[in-house]
């Protein structure tokens, strides 16, 4: 078997060739795994394997993103996991903190499965999600929503999006679409929020502050 003269003899041994082929196949398989992994781990089915996410899911099921007239349904990951294999994987690595918090909550608290705890922490979760939407220029919204296609039901909806939305990103105006309504961070008042949650769950005033301090 003759080899081309330019081929470095020393390198291309049979083992090396095997390694390249095997590595390539493994690599492709790994990529396929990641795609499937990212895909599966972006579904509500997966997300709600953590109990605390059931609360978020209940809200989601009442929202227009779940029950849209057009039949288009956004799943958890469509909004909360970036598009593209590397970005999606990175988001999942970052998102693993939720898993650790869930486990830690079960062991030492706070237990996010508890609807009261969950509601008390909801604002910070919302602020973090909004920061992410702002950081990537609402990229996940734009997976489905195309500016040129926004016509709306009212005559001027299209014009507002064309003219007045310039320099803004979707989440600047559109928030609180799916989960419990949380005010903007700038005008959020923890004190008022705690009192509201206490009233909602019939708790004595001050309970919320104690739960948050624990």
């Amino acid at each position: 078997m003759t080899k081309p003269r330019w081929f470095p003899n020393l390198v291309l041994t049979r083992h090396v060739l095997f390694a390249i082929v095997a590595g390539g196949v493994a690599g492709v398989l790994f990529m396929v795994f990641l795609i499937e992994f990212d895909h599966y781990t972006s579904t509500a089915e997966f997300c709600t394997t953590c109990h605390s996410m059931k609360i978020a899911e209940d809200e989601y099921r009442q929202s227009a993103h779940y029950r849209s007239a057009s039949g288009v349904r956004a799943d958890c990951g469509h909004c909360h996991v970036s598009e593209g294999i590397f970005a999606a994987t990175w988001d999942h690595i970052k998102g693993a903190k939720d898993l650790f918090k869930e486990i830690k909550g079960k062991l030492v608290g706070p237990d996010y499965d508890d609807p009261v705890i969950n509601a008390l922490h909801a604002p910070e979760a919302a602020f973090a999600a909004r920061r992410q939407f702002r950081a990537n220029d609402s990229a996940n919204c734009k997976r489905c929503h195309v500016l040129d296609a926004i016509l709306g039901k009212r005559p001027d909806t299209a014009a507002i999006h064309r003219e007045d939305a310039k320099g803004k990103t979707c989440v600047d105006c559109h928030m609180n679409l799916v989960h419990r309504k949380v005010p903007d961070e700038q005008t959020f008042k923890r004190e008022a929020w705690n009192r509201m949650i206490e009233a909602e769950f019939g708790l004595a005033p001050g309970t919320a502050d104690r739960l948050l301090a624990e």
């Binding site: 001027d156 909806t157 309504k181 005010p183 005008t187 509201m196």
Partner: protein
């Protein structure tokens, strides 16, 4: 002597209060310079809003505010720390614009409005709401009924939204998230805030209408309303100054008499200041208007001596305030009458007021006071449960003073003979004799009932006719008795 001196001083104080207020013949001109408004960000709002809420934007664009350069943010700006602050398109705003917000420029109007019967309209009914709105109907009526006129106590929820049980609301005494009381847009419809619109009688009609306060109907049925309807185009409603007798003389509107400038009398945003009587109580009282140093006000019956300037008295809400001035009932009447004098002679005004006062006194003495005393007696004897409106007589008593009695008194005050009589005092009489007294006898039993009725009516001259059941009158078809045949005498 000291009493006289004190009265004189108090009157002087009231005089100063009434006459030396800024001699504004209209809503006081804003004296601030333009640097106080024209918020930089506020110029941008209309770009979206003329698309998203075109009507609202157009109203503002047509307003005096827009012409003067007062934009959305000048009124809606908020501090992030404000309880009702929200972030809107990246800017901190508040939905509710309170009198305090308007008062940043319209300081005179705010000072006058503060503590007025309008500003305190929530406190007026707060203890009645559970019995009326909640028991009789349901809490939904508080938001859709009571609070739409009197005002809601606006509640901001923990998520920054306004509780729909309390908002939307433009009730005149609305308790705002910033603690101020009132809603300027109750009369000055947003977002045009037109002078002319607020001077129209229709500005008052949303609330001063219907069985318990038919002021719209009374006004329309009066000569004043007649002239207004016929000569509305001569009212000069859009005029910058609006002094009765000077800028217009075609007709008076509600504003003219209760708030408007006339002669030397300045305009005021304290709509109850010129009212001498309390007309919406079981028994009307002549009232002092006590003004405190901090701007709060309190009505005090003139059965108590007017408090001295500088003394500290209960403000009526449990807190104590220092008296700044007192307007006696006489001063208040004088202020009201000075409006009349722009068109009427002094004797006419004095005698008209006498006719009005006589109706109030008649209602008080013949119906209001005895009915109230009888009810208290029935409660004291345990013949009625303390719970209001679970017994028919309680409705009868309530409507006697709150609806029919109020109509009669308002009708007399504003010169609608039909409201004073058929819609008012006639019904008071019919229901007093035809429903109330029979129900007293029913509740207490014939013997005790009769005793209660006698006890409370015996000294009231107006009821003496009941003791003459044989007297006749052809009104119901019963023929007059022939004159007793006198022996030889001829009937005159």
């Amino acid at each position: 002597m000291t009493h006289l001196l004190r009265s004189a001083l108090v009157s002087l104080g009231a005089l100063v209060l009434v006459l030396l207020a800024p001699p504004a013949a209209h809503a006081a001109k804003v004296t601030l310079d333009r640097s106080h408004w024209g918020h930089e960000v506020g110029e941008k709002c209309t770009s979206c809003h003329e698309k998203a809420s075109a009507g609202l934007t157009k109203q503002w664009q047509d307003s005096a505010h827009a012409k003067a350069g007062v934009n959305c943010m000048d009124c809606h700006q908020a501090d992030p720390k404000d309880v009702d602050a929200i972030t809107h398109e990246g800017y901190v705003i508040a939905t509710v614009v309170s009198p305090k917000d308007c008062g940043r420029c319209h300081a005179t109007e705010l000072a006058e409005q503060q503590g007025s019967v309008h500003a305190e309209a929530v406190a007026l009914i707060q203890d009645k709401i559970p019995a009326l709105a909640h028991n009789l109907t349901g809490a939904a009526m508080e938001a859709a009924g009571c609070a739409q006129c009197h005002g809601s106590v606006v509640k901001v929820r923990g998520d920054g939204t306004l509780d729909p049980a309390t908002w939307p609301n433009s009730g005149i005494g609305r308790v705002n998230p910033d603690g101020s009381k009132g809603s300027c847009s109750s009369c000055h419809g947003r977002h045009r805030f037109s002078k002319a619109q607020a001077r129209e009688p229709s500005a008052c009609v949303r609330c001063h209408f219907g069985p318990d306060s038919p002021d719209k109907e009374i006004y329309e049925a009066s000569k004043h309303g007649m002239f207004y309807a016929a000569q509305r185009d001569e009212m000069n409603l859009g005029s910058d100054t609006w002094v009765a007798g000077k800028d217009y003389s075609a007709a008076p509107t509600c504003v003219t008499c209760h708030m408007g400038a006339a002669g030397k009398l300045p305009a005021t945003h304290d709509v109850g200041m010129r009212n001498m009587w309390s007309l919406n109580t079981p028994v009307s009282q002549r009232q002092h208007l006590v003004v405190f140093e901090d701007g709060d006000k309190r009505e005090l019956p003139d059965t108590v001596e007017a408090p001295k300037r500088g003394t500290e008295i209960d403000k009526g809400n449990g807190t104590v305030g220092k008296v700044k001035a007192v307007a006696t009932p006489e001063r208040r009447r004088q202020a009201m009458s000075s409006v009349c004098l722009e068109c009427h002679s002094k004797p006419l005004v004095t005698d008209f007021m006498k006719q009005f006062d006589d109706v109030v006194v008649l209602f008080n003495e013949k119906f209001g006071a005895p009915a109230t005393a009888i009810m208290q007696d029935l409660y004291a004897r345990g013949l009625l449960t303390p719970q209001p409106f679970d017994e028919p007589i309680e409705f009868t008593y309530w409507e006697l003073w709150h609806d029919e009695g109020a109509r009669a008194r308002h009708g007399a005050a504003m010169a609608s003979p039909n409201h004073a009589w058929w819609e008012g005092m006639y019904l008071v009489g019919r229901n007093f004799y035809g429903r109330f007294l029979p129900q007293v006898r029913e509740v207490a039993g014939p013997t005790e009932g009769e005793a209660i009725v006698r006890k409370h009516l015996a000294d009231v001259a107006g009821h003496a006719w009941l003791a003459q059941p044989q007297r006749t009158n052809p009104i119901l078809g019963y023929p007059p008795q022939p004159a007793p045949a006198a022996a030889g005498g001829a009937a005159p």
